[in-house]
Symmetry: C2
Subunit: 141 residues, 2 copies
Amino acid sequence: MQAAIDEARKGLEEGGIPIGSVLVHAGKIIGRGHNRRVQQGSAILHGEMDALENAGRQPASVYRDATLYTTLSPCAMCSGAILLYGIKTVVIGENETFLGEEQLLRTRGVTLDVRHDQTCRQLMDAFISSKPELWNEDIGR
Amino acid sequence: MQAAIDEARKGLEEGGIPIGSVLVHAGKIIGRGHNRRVQQGSAILHGEMDALENAGRQPASVYRDATLYTTLSPCAMCSGAILLYGIKTVVIGENETFLGEEQLLRTRGVTLDVRHDQTCRQLMDAFISSKPELWNEDIGR
């Protein structure tokens, strides 16, 4: 989770939305990412999507044994990507500033570990307070 | 739908997976895309995701009035993106070679128009026959 938080901070330093994610397989980080809406004008590069993209093309067997770490509860798009690739375990920094599709993921058999991490929460609280319009854009509101 | 099929053919000509998509708002195409797994080594650029990305950052109001055209039934990831952005109408070329998360989309109030288009189907049938491993990779199998 610390690596995901480092990614979130990196995003913040770049002027972006402070959400980070890493994909871990066999004890190694195979993809790191952070939200790039601002930096790349991207509508799809949420932190989790960026981590998946940076992990590159992987066989199904890798995803099935991988764990996705994300500083924030995954939205519908990122949850869909988790389901597409059959990632079975997701570790979530916090789900208090935004609650994603956790119920759908659980229904489909994904194990979620919500950490209620105060650093993750403080990053989002401060960001949402300072740039509410940008945050709403990121979650389609 | 013809513009989405044109995108699928473009992808095929590039050596990629023949799935195309366009996002239409107020009668105009605002984003065109096709699957770029092969071309860009991408794990996230399905046709629909590529169309959303190429449409750029849009306010929620645009997505809500937009229609997404896709040559193939949208997978979990692309369906999640549709839900994230509140796209209310999706026109689907065919759902016979692959059935995506249509039930989930309908449950969430998205209107689907499945065209059972034979051109879309033939493109996928031929592709899946010739490169089954690449196709399985694209859908996480």
